[in-house]
C-alpha cells in the first residue's frame, strides 16, 4: 500500500461497540444484530458478506445513522453518533457519511447535478465547482448534468448516487449492495470507481456484497452470520 500515509495508518475512524438490534418483543422477538463490536481504520476498504437475513444491512444502516440500535454505541471519527439529537445526527449524516443503496434512491425531481450536490445544498453552503467537476468527470457523467434520474440507465443512476455519497468528502462511505441491481459490466465499473476513491483519496469504505469477486478486492472481509461476526479476515494491508 504505497498510497497510504503513515500517520493515517492506524487511525481509527469507526468503532462499533456491543451493537445489538432486536425487532419485535417477547416470543416473536428477532435478533438482527447480536452484540457486535469491531473497528475500522481510516482508508480501509471493508467488505461485509453474509447470507440473506444475517443482519449485514442492519449493521450498515445503524453505522450510517439511519436506523437505531437497541443497545450499543457507534463512534465515527470519535463522535458517539447516537448521542446526538435528531438535527445534529441529520447534519452529521449530511457531512460525514455517504450512503449508497442498491436501488439508488435518487430524488426524481432533481437533475443529476442537483442530486449529487444535494448534501451541500442542504448544508446551505456553496458548491465547490472544481471539486464537483472533478467528481463528475471521474464518474463519467459529463453531459448528463441536466438529466433527471428517470432519463439515466441503472449504472448511471448508481454513479450519481456515488457522487452524492462522495461530494462532501465524508469520513465514511457505506454501500449496501451497490451492484446488486446491475449487470456485470456496470458492476465492475462501479466497484472500480469505489476502489479508485478508496485508493486515491484514502476514502474509508464499507461495502455489503454477495459477490465474492467484489469482496476479494477489499482490504478486509467481515463475515456475518445470525447477527454475529463469524469471521474477520484481513486480505491485504
Amino acid at each position: 500500500m504505497i498510497y497510504k500515509y503513515e500517520e493515517d495508518y492506524k487511525m481509527e475512524i469507526l468503532r462499533v461497540e456491543n451493537l445489538t438490534k432486536t425487532y419485535g418483543k417477547g416470543n416473536t422477538a428477532v435478533t438482527a444484530l447480536d452484540n457486535v463490536s469491531f473497528s475500522v481504520n481510516k482508508g480501509e476498504f471493508v467488505a461485509v458478506i453474509g447470507p440473506s437475513g444475517s443482519g449485514k444491512s442492519t449493521l450498515l444502516h445503524i453505522i450510517g445513522g439511519v436506523d437505531f440500535p437497541s443497545s450499543g454505541k457507534v463512534f465515527i471519527d470519535g463522535t458517539d453518533i447516537y448521542n446526538l439529537n435528531e438535527t445534529q445526527l441529520a447534519i452529521f449524516r449530511r457531512r460525514q457519511i455517504g450512503l449508497i443503496y442498491q436501488f439508488y434512491n435518487l430524488i426524481p425531481i432533481l437533475n443529476v447535478e442537483e442530486n449529487i450536490t444535494l448534501p451541500q445544498l442542504l448544508d446551505g453552503g456553496s458548491v465547490d465547482k472544481e471539486h464537483l467537476n472533478e467528481l463528475i468527470s471521474t464518474l463519467g457523467l459529463e453531459g448528463r448534468l441536466k438529466h433527471l434520474p428517470n432519463q439515466l440507465s441503472g449504472g448511471q443512476q448508481q454513479r450519481v448516487s456515488i457522487g452524492r455519497a462522495l461530494v462532501n468528502n465524508p469520513a465514511l462511505v457505506l454501500a449496501d449492495e451497490p451492484t446488486g441491481n446491475l449487470d456485470s459490466k456496470n458492476s465492475e465499473e462501479i466497484v472500480n470507481l469505489l476502489k479508485l476513491y478508496n485508493q486515491m483519496y484514502n476514502q474509508t469504505l464499507i461495502l455489503i456484497t454477495h459477490d465474492e469477486k467484489i469482496a476479494l478486492q477489499a482490504d478486509r472481509i467481515i463475515s456475518i452470520e445470525d447477527g454475529k461476526i463469524s469471521k474477520d479476515e484481513v486480505i491485504r494491508s
Partner: protein, 866 residues
C-alpha cells in the same frame, strides 16, 4: 367473496384515511343534492298549500247551462276530480252601502265543493242542508249589512238581465253612472238559517267587481236533474296538470266556457306555462345543482384516480399472476360500490335532516316573506322521485369517477405497472425552477416548488378546489353585504312606521282628525303628525344660489343668463303641535314662526345624491340665501291658478319632524311651515298622517279598525315595518341558503384538498426517507413542506382574489342598477379566506406528516422497495 374483492377491501382498509375522506365526499355531495331537491319540493308543496288556502285546490272552472254539457265534461278521462257549484240566483241586499254590490249571490255547493273552495269559517259552521247558509263576512265590513248567527232570513231570489241577456258574477253591476242598466227579475223566495260566516273569496271565485256577496248553501242533489235557468260551475282538477293548457285551448270552441283559471296552482304543479317564481326556483336550483355536480364530480373523481394510480403496481402484479382485465375492472367497481353503499344512504339522511332543520328554523320567515300571516306552514316534504334522482346521480358520478382512471390503467403493460415507470414521465423542463427560487427560498423552497410541478394535474386540482372556495366565499359574502346594504338604505329613508296618504282632491273632513286623535291615543304610538304638502316654485337671483346649480341650469337650457332662476319648493304644512315641538328641539324662538303677517318657514336645504362622474354619494346644498330673507314663491292651487306669496326663510335645519324626508329631492328645497299660520292656503296636493309605534305589528289591526270605524279607506295605510320586515326576511333566507351552500361547497373543497395533499405526501414517503438519509434536518424538512403549503395557498389566492373582486364588481354593477351604492372591497371576507386557505392546507399537511415523521427512515425505504 372472491380474492379480488378481498384484496380491494384490504386496500380500502389500509388507506383508511383516504377511504373515509372519499366516503365523506360522497356523503357531502349526496347530501347537497338531496337537500336542494328536497328544498325545491318542500317549497313547491308549501306554495301549493298556500295557494290552496287562498284560491282553492282546483285547476279550472267551467260554466255550463245544460245537463248534457255537464255530463260531457265530467266524463272526460283527463279529469281527475271535479266538484259542482250551482248558481242559486241573486237576491237584493237591502241596505248595502256598496253601490256596486247590491246583491247576495247564492252558491249551492255539492259535498266535494266544500273541500275544493277556500272556505275559511270565521264564526259558526258549514251548512248541512239547503236550508242553511254561510255568509261572506264582507257583507258586513264592505256592505255594511249585519246578520246574526242563527238569524232566519227570507230572500227574494231571482236573476239579473241586461238587454235580455242573463248576467252572472263576472258581469259587474250595471250602475247608472256607467251608462248601462240591468234589471232584476225575481222568481220566488227562499228562506235560510244563518249558520256561520266565512272570509271573503279570492277574485278567482268571486270576482272583485262581482255585484253579489257570496253566500253558501248545500246543493240539493235532485236539482241536478234539471237546471232550468241556473248556471252550473264545475271546478276541475286534471290528472296531468301539464296538459291543462291543451285542454283549455281545445275548449275554446265549445258553448260552455272556461270561466276561471287557477294559474297559480297550475304553475306550481308544473304546467307548461312556467314563469315568475317558478322560473326563479327552477333556475336557481339548476345553477346550484350544476355547481354541486362540478364540485362533487371533481372530488369523487380525484379520490378514485388517486386510489387507482396507487393500485397500479398492485394491478401489475395481479395481472402478471394472471388476473384478467375484467377482474381488475371489477375490482375497481367493487371498490366504488362499497363506497357508494356506505356514503349514499348516509348522505341522503344527512341531507334530509339538514334541510329539515333549516326549514324548521326558517318557517316563520318564509310565511312573512309571502306577505301574509296564514295558517300554512313550510314543512319538510321529501319527494321520493327527488331522492331516487339523488341516489342515481351520486351512483353515476361514483361509477364514472372510478371507470375513467381505471380504464387508463388498461393501457399500461403489466411489467410497466410493476416497475411504475410509466406512472409519471418527468422531464427536466417540467420541474425546472428559476435560479431566483433557490436564492430566495433556499433548497427547501426549490424542492417544494419542484414537488408541486412534478404532478401538474394534482397540483392544479388542489389549487382549483381552493380557488373555487375562495371565489364562492368572497362573492357570496359580497352579495349578501350589498343586499343587506340596499335594504338598510331603504329602511333609513323612513323616520316613521305608518303612513296614511290621500291626494289633495279628497275632502279632508272632521273624520280624519277624529281618527288621527284616536290613533295617537293608542298604546304604543309614540310620535305622529299631520302633514299637508304643497308644490311651489321659487324664483331666485343668481347670487342667491350655489354656482353649480346656476351653471347646470344654463347648461341644460332651462334659463338664459341673467334670468331669475326657478327652484322647485316642497312646502309642508305641519300641524301646530308637531311644529312647536320641532321648533323647540331646534332651539329656535317660537314667536318668529308664529307671525301670520310675515310667514316664516324653516328650510331644509340638503341634497343627497349619487354623482355618476365621481362615482360616489354626494351631499350638497343649493341656497346661498341668508336667514331672514324674503323669497317669492309661486303656488299652484287646485284650480290651476298661480298665487304668488312671500315667505321668509327663518332658519335652516338638518333634522326633520316625523314624516318629512331628511333630504330634499334633486334640485329642490323643502320648507316647513306651521299649518296654523298658513290658514289662507287651505288647499294642498297631498294629505298625510304619520305614526311611529313601538311594536308596529301589534297596533296595526287597531289602526285599521279605527280607520274603518271612521269610514276611511284603510287601504291607504302603509306599514313601513311590514315592508322592511318582508325584505329582512328575504335577506335572512338568502343569507342562510347562500352561506349554507358556501359552507357545504367549501367542505367539499376542503375534503378534496385534504385528500390530494395526504396522498401526495404518502406517495413521497420514500423520497422523504431519502432526503433524511442524506441529512435533511427536521427543520429543513418542515421548511420544505411549509413552502409547499404556501405555494398552494398563494397560487389559489393569486387567482382567487382578483377573480372574486371582479365578480364583486359585477355584483356591485347589478345592484347599482336598482339602488345607488358605491363599490367597496370585500376586505373582510378576503382576509377570512386568506386565513382559512392556509389553515386548510397546513392542517392537511400536518395531519399527513404526523405519521411519516415518526417513521423510521429505513422502514420507508424498504417499504417501497418491496
Amino acid at each position: 367473496m372472491n380474492i379480488m374483492n378481498r384484496i380491494t377491501l384490504k386496500g380500502l382498509k389500509k388507506n383508511k384515511t383516504r377511504t373515509i375522506v372519499t366516503i365523506i365526499g360522497v356523503i357531502l355531495s349526496t347530501a347537497m343534492i338531496t337537500a336542494v331537491t328536497s328544498f325545491a319540493s318542500s317549497l313547491q308543496h308549501f306554495l301549493i298549500n298556500y295557494t290552496t288556502y287562498g284560491i282553492g285546490n282546483w285547476h279550472i272552472r267551467i260554466k255550463t247551462r245544460t245537463i248534457d254539457e255537464y255530463q260531457d265534461i265530467i266524463e272526460d278521462n283527463q279529469i281527475k276530480k271535479y266538484s259542482v257549484v250551482k248558481d242559486g240566483g241573486y237576491a237584493p241586499l237591502v241596505g248595502s252601502k256598496n253601490e256596486y254590490k247590491p246583491y247576495l249571490y247564492i252558491m249551492e255547493l255539492d259535498n266535494k265543493a266544500f273541500d275544493t273552495l277556500p272556505i275559511h269559517i270565521t264564526q259558526g259552521r258549514l251548512p248541512k242542508n239547503s236550508k242553511e247558509v254561510l255568509l261572506s263576512e264582507h257583507i258586513l265590513y264592505n256592505g255594511g249589512v249585519e246578520f246574526k248567527l242563527g238569524q232566519e232570513i227570507s230572500l227574494e231570489v231571482g236573476a239579473r238581465y241586461s238587454d235580455g241577456y242573463k248576467l252572472d258574477q263576472q258581469n259587474s253591476f250595471h250602475h247608472i253612472d256607467t251608462g248601462e242598466t240591468e234589471e232584476f227579475i225575481a222568481s220566488g223566495t227562499r228562506s235560510f238559517t244563518v249558520v256561520g260566516f266565512f272570509e271573503r273569496f279570492p277574485t278567482e271565485i268571486e270576482n272583485f267587481a262581482a255585484p253579489g256577496y257570496s253566500i253558501l248553501t248545500c246543493l240539493d242533489d235532485s236539482s241536478l236533474t234539471s237546471l232550468e235557468d241556473s248556471d252550473l260551475y264545475i271546478y276541475i282538477n286534471f290528472k296531468n296538470p301539464r296538459k291543462a293548457f291543451n285542454y283549455i285551448d281545445n275548449y275554446q270552441d265549445h258553448d260552455y266556457h272556461i270561466d276561471s283559471i287557477n294559474y297559480d296552482i297550475l304553475q306550481l304543479e308544473g304546467s307548461s306555462d312556467i314563469s315568475g317564481f317558478n322560473a326563479v326556483i327552477y333556475g336557481l336550483s339548476g345553477i346550484i345543482m350544476t355547481i354541486i355536480i362540478i364540485g362533487s364530480v371533481a372530488l369523487i373523481y380525484n379520490s378514485f384516480s388517486i386510489s387507482v394510480s396507487e393500485r397500479r403496481k398492485q394491478f401489475g402484479l395481479l395481472s402478471s399472476v394472471g388476473a384478467t382485465r375484467k377482474q381488475l375492472m371489477n375490482s375497481v367497481f367493487f371498490e366504488s360500490l362499497f363506497i357508494a353503499v356506505i356514503g349514499i344512504p348516509l348522505g341522503i339522511c344527512s341531507g334530509i335532516l339538514g334541510i329539515g332543520i333549516t326549514l324548521h328554523q326558517l318557517r316563520d320567515n318564509f310565511i312573512i316573506m309571502l306577505g301574509e300571516r296564514i295558517p300554512v306552514e313550510l314543512t319538510l316534504n321529501v319527494s321520493v322521485p327527488s331522492v331516487i334522482a339523488a341516489v342515481i346521480f351520486s351512483l353515476i358520478t361514483i361509477l364514472i369517477s372510478a371507470y375513467i382512471p381505471a380504464r387508463r390503467t388498461k393501457k399500461i403493460s403489466a411489467i410497466d405497472a410493476v416497475r411504475q415507470t410509466a406512472d409519471i414521465k418527468l422531464t427536466y423542463k417540467k420541474v425546472k425552477t428559476s435560479k431566483l427560487t433557490r436564492k430566495i427560498f433556499g433548497i427547501e423552497g426549490d424542492l417544494a416548488l419542484k414537488n408541486l410541478k412534478r404532478n401538474k394535474k394534482r397540483y392544479r386540482s388542489t389549487v382549483f378546489s381552493l380557488f373555487i372556495s375562495v371565489l364562492l366565499f368572497i362573492t357570496a359574502s359580497s352579495f349578501s353585504m350589498y343586499l343587506t346594504d340596499s335594504v338598510e338604505n331603504v329602511y333609513d329613508k323612513y323616520n316613521y312606521d305608518f303612513r296614511y296618504a290621500v291626494s289633495g282632491t279628497t275632502d279632508i273632513s272632521e273624520e280624519y282628525l277624529v281618527a288621527y286623535e284616536n290613533i295617537r291615543n293608542l298604546d304604543g304610538i309614540y310620535d305622529s303628525s299631520i302633514i299637508k304638502k304643497i308644490y311651489g316654485t321659487a324664483y331666485l337671483k343668481k347670487e342667491q344660489l350655489e354656482a353649480f346649480y346656476y351653471s347646470d341650469m344654463i347648461e341644460n337650457g332651462s334659463i338664459n343668463d341673467g334670468d331669475d332662476i326657478p327652484l322647485h319648493v316642497d312646502i309642508y304644512k305641519v300641524d301646530h303641535e308637531t311644529f312647536i315641538n320641532y321648533i323647540e328641539k331646534l332651539g329656535l324662538k317660537k314667536d318668529k314662526f308664529q307671525n301670520t303677517e310675515e310667514i316664516t318657514a324653516i328650510a331644509i336645504d340638503r341634497q343627497h345624491y349619487y354623482d355618476d362622474k365621481e362615482e360616489r354619494f354626494k351631499n350638497t346644498k343649493l341656497l346661498k340665501v341668508k336667514p331672514d330673507t324674503h323669497i317669492t314663491i309661486d303656488l299652484n292651487n287646485d284650480d290651476g291658478d298661480t298665487i304668488s306669496t312671500s315667505i321668509v326663510l327663518g332658519a335652516y335645519a338638518d333634522t326633520v319632524p316625523i314624516g318629512i324626508p331628511e333630504y330634499s329631492y334633486d334640485y329642490s328645497i323643502t320648507l316647513l311651515i306651521d299649518e296654523d299660520i298658513l290658514k289662507d292656503f287651505d288647499w294642498f296636493h297631498m294629505f298625510y298622517m304619520f305614526f311611529s309605534a313601538k311594536k308596529p305589528f301589534d297596533v296595526e289591526h287597531q289602526i285599521v279598525k279605527i280607520l274603518n270605524d271612521a269610514g276611511l279607506d284603510s287601504g291607504n295605510l302603509y306599514n313601513i315595518a311590514e315592508d322592511v320586515e318582508y325584505e329582512r326576511n328575504i335577506i335572512l333566507i338568502i343569507k342562510v341558503f347562500a352561506y349554507g351552500f358556501i359552507i357545504l361547497m367549501s367542505l367539499i373543497s376542503v375534503t378534496n384538498v385534504f385528500n390530494t395533499i395526504t396522498t401526495n405526501i404518502n406517495l413521497r414517503r420514500r423520497e422523504f426517507a431519502m432526503l433524511k438519509s442524506v441529512g435533511i434536518t427536521g427543520k429543513g424538512f418542515n421548511k420544505m413542506l411549509n413552502y409547499e403549503c404556501i405555494f398552494y395557498g398563494l397560487k389559489a389566492l393569486i387567482y382567487g382574489i382578483p377573480t372574486s373582486i371582479f365578480i364583486t364588481y359585477l355584483i356591485y354593477l347589478s345592484i347599482d342598477e336598482g339602488v345607488e351604492t358605491s363599490f367597496y372591497m370585500p376586505a373582510h371576507s378576503i382576509l377570512i379566506s386568506i386565513l382559512s386557505i392556509f389553515l386548510v392546507v397546513f392542517i392537511s399537511m400536518m395531519y399527513s406528516m404526523k405519521k411519516i415523521r415518526k417513521e423510521n427512515i429505513l422502514d420507508a425505504l424498504k417499504n417501497e422497495n418491496l
